[in-house]
């Protein structure tokens, strides 16, 4: 019901609004992705890499002191412990195996903060495939360490100089590259965005998160589903993965946390569900931030990973159908939550993740509620921002 239908839609959202030049590539993927995914040899290779290379299953950790502070039972799903430091690698492992089975020799990707770029460069190194990462010229300056990591891993980082020179433009450039390389190239999109079948394919790769949550909860709480699952939403891939197996369990509350930036109505925000309306971005019909005459606007968030003017079509559907509860969190409150988790639990979260952790200040839960927060990434990449913000 909340998953994709056979036409590639989540309710009224999704589809593949792409120029004809991309049609053969996207169609090739659409026709083949499910059957490739279901091949036993694919599943075996995928799961063995997730285990031995990524380090899965990631722990489901009961955050005792954090729980005491907010008088409820909070579990953290430790995606920060994945190789490369975030959930992004679950998807890139899946897609690189997909690309190999489709006979592709050249990989392209977009990146904002550089996490997806690093995760892509990593799997390309692992498989010995050529890797080109598009990154906004402004982000290249802001995220120098991740640029260096990608280069060490053998990737070519190409600056996107068009438009606003950030994630949205890097995505445009990656799509243009794909148009210009119609046969040998696979585009590894970094979130549950883009034309069908990407949102569904990426969600399936990330769904290992909710699958593990379910198994781990049955050991720890003698139940297979939490009362709530909470995740931050940029494009929405870590959230889609954390919700996946619970989407059709109405008893599980789904909470999506967006970046309010300097405030939802400040003009500097990335809270798409609050500020966006239906339109088309990067080949998908979804909610996006735009002007009255349909030009896509620039979002703002202190966290580069949430700095995207749209959300994936699954999340647009969760929002408009009322299945998901959408909360937005300001830069300031997110940063505070990041420090708070660090001091209470000894875990420094990515600033993206800090947004999800910040909701406990205002969103109250019952003492015996089991609330799983998807700890999507670790904060190492964000140290400079934390240092500046808190004068550390």
């Amino acid at each position: 019901m909340y998953n994709v239908n056979e036409k590639g839609y989540y309710g009224e959202f999704g589809g593949a609004y792409i120029p004809e030049m991309l049609y053969p590539n996207v169609e090739e993927l659409r026709k083949n992705y499910v059957s490739i995914l279901q091949e036993p040899s694919f599943q075996e290779e995928f799961h063995s890499l997730l285990k031995d290379y990524v380090g899965r299953p990631t722990p489901l950790y009961f955050a005792k002191r954090f729980s005491e502070k907010y008088n409820t039972k909070v579990y953290l799903k430790r995606e920060d412990l994945c190789h490369t430091g975030a959930h992004k690698v679950n998807n890139t492992i899946g897609q690189i195996l997909m690309a190999k089975r489709l006979g592709k020799s050249r990989i392209i990707a977009e990146t904002g903060a550089g996490q997806h770029g690093v995760a892509t460069a990593t799997v390309c190194a692992l498989m010995g495939l050529e890797c080109i990462v598009y990154m906004g010229a402004i982000d290249i300056e802001r995220q120098a360490p991740n640029v260096a990591r990608m280069k060490m891993l053998g990737a070519t980082v190409v600056p996107a100089n068009s438009g606003s020179k950030t994630l949205k433009d890097a995505t445009n450039e990656a799509i243009r590259d794909w148009i210009n390389h119609p046969t040998n190239t696979h585009y590894i999109i970094g979130s549950v965005v883009g034309p069908h079948p990407y949102p569904d394919m990426v969600a399936r790769f990330q769904s290992v998160i909710s699958e593990e949550i379910s198994t781990q909860l049955s050991e720890k709480e003698n139940r297979t589903a939490p009362d709530y699952v909470v995740a931050c939403v940029g494009g929405g891939s870590n959230a889609a993965g954390a919700y996946y197996h619970f989407l059709d369990h109405p008893a599980v509350g789904i909470i999506a946390v967006e970046a309010a930036g300097q405030g939802v109505n400040s003009g500097k925000s990335a809270a798409t569900s609050a500020l966006g309306n239906i339109g088309i971005i990067h080949g998908s019909k979804t909610l996006l931030m735009q002007t009255a005459d349909g030009q896509i606007t620039e979002p703002y968030s202190i966290s580069a990973g949430l700095d995207y003017p749209g959300v994936g079509p699954m999340h647009a559907h969760l929002f408009t159908s009322g299945r998901g509860e959408f909360i937005s969190v300001t830069d300031k409150d997110a940063m505070q939550a990041g420090i708070s988790l660090s001091k209470l639990e000894g875990i420094i979260p990515a600033i993206e993740t800090s947004h999800a952790l910040a909701i406990f200040e205002n969103r109250k839960f019952k003492p015996d509620d089991v609330v799983v927060v998807n700890l999507s990434g670790r904060g190492d990449k964000d140290l400079n921002t934390y240092i500046k913000h808190f004068n550390l």
Binding site: M21, P24, R176, N180, G279, I280, D293, G294, I296
Partner: protein
């Protein structure tokens, strides 16, 4: 349906079509450019409705779109500028744009406005064939608009036949697997693609676009098709020489 595009296609000559971005180089240039193109013998025009994220376009058209938006161009302004265009210009006019601005304006309202003004067709690269057929075809038809689809060297014969059946004007034949503005010239590979499509004997004529920038490429592109579209090269001309440069540019093509 028998609009200006269909009549033009019946003429016994190779057609020269020009693309330009509305609102570039200056906001008020739209009508003067159209008048000049007609006066200089251009057969048909694609008026680009600028979009912030033009996925199928190379740097030249991207930059012109960014500038046009900065100049204040938007859908309502374009329609205002074109309000009386049919008092001055009689060649076929096509609006080329991305789907999102049209979705925001309202597809029905947009198509109605096009009809009122005297627009003959639309090229919307990111409106997929299946969506068009399922949701929008009656709206286009009611307003006398030809919907122009793209094909590329990678488009399968089966899909080309499907596109041909859904088309009612011409088919926009993208010369190579690229965004707009790539200038690799037309070698054997392109020629055999042009010939392959010609041999399919489609019901709609084909007009070639992408990579046409001078007399040679125009000639090569039209050898096996009904006409050719010049976009990026024309935008570059406007950047360098402005509207005054149009006459000699068109003369240099044919």
């Amino acid at each position: 349906m028998n609009n200006r595009i269909q009549k033009k296609l019946q003429q016994d000559k190779k057609l020269l079509s020009i693309y330009f971005t509305a609102g570039y180089p200056n906001l008020e240039d739209t009508v003067p450019i159209l008048k000049s193109l007609e006066a200089n013998g251009v057969d048909m025009v694609e008026i680009g409705l600028p979009f912030s994220d033009p996925l199928a376009d190379g740097p030249t058209i991207q930059d012109s779109s960014t500038k046009a938006i900065q100049n204040g161009m938007n859908t309502a302004t374009l329609f205002e500028q074109l309000e009386d265009i049919r008092d001055h210009v009689s060649i076929p006019l096509i609006i080329m744009g991305y789907f999102n601005p049209i979705l925001q304006y309202g597809v029905e309202a947009f198509c109605k406005k096009c009809k009122d003004i005297g627009i003959d067709g639309l090229i919307l690269p990111d409106l997929p064939l299946a969506e068009y057929e399922e949701h929008y075809k009656p709206i286009f038809q009611k307003n006398g608009l030809s919907n122009i689809f793209l094909i590329t060297p990678q488009t399968s014969d089966e899909r080309i036949k499907h596109i041909d059946a859904a088309s009612n004007g011409f088919i926009y034949m993208v010369s190579s697997a690229s965004t707009t503005g790539a200038t690799s010239g037309f070698g054997n590979e392109q020629q055999s693609y042009f010939k392959r499509i010609q041999a399919m004997k489609l019901k709609n004529p084909t007009i070639v676009g992408f990579g046409i920038n001078n007399k040679e490429t125009f000639k090569a592109a039209t050898e096996h098709s009904k006409g050719a579209i010049i976009g990026s090269a024309f935008i570059k001309l406007l950047t360098n020489k402005g509207i005054e440069g149009i006459a000699s540019f068109i003369k240099s093509i044919r």
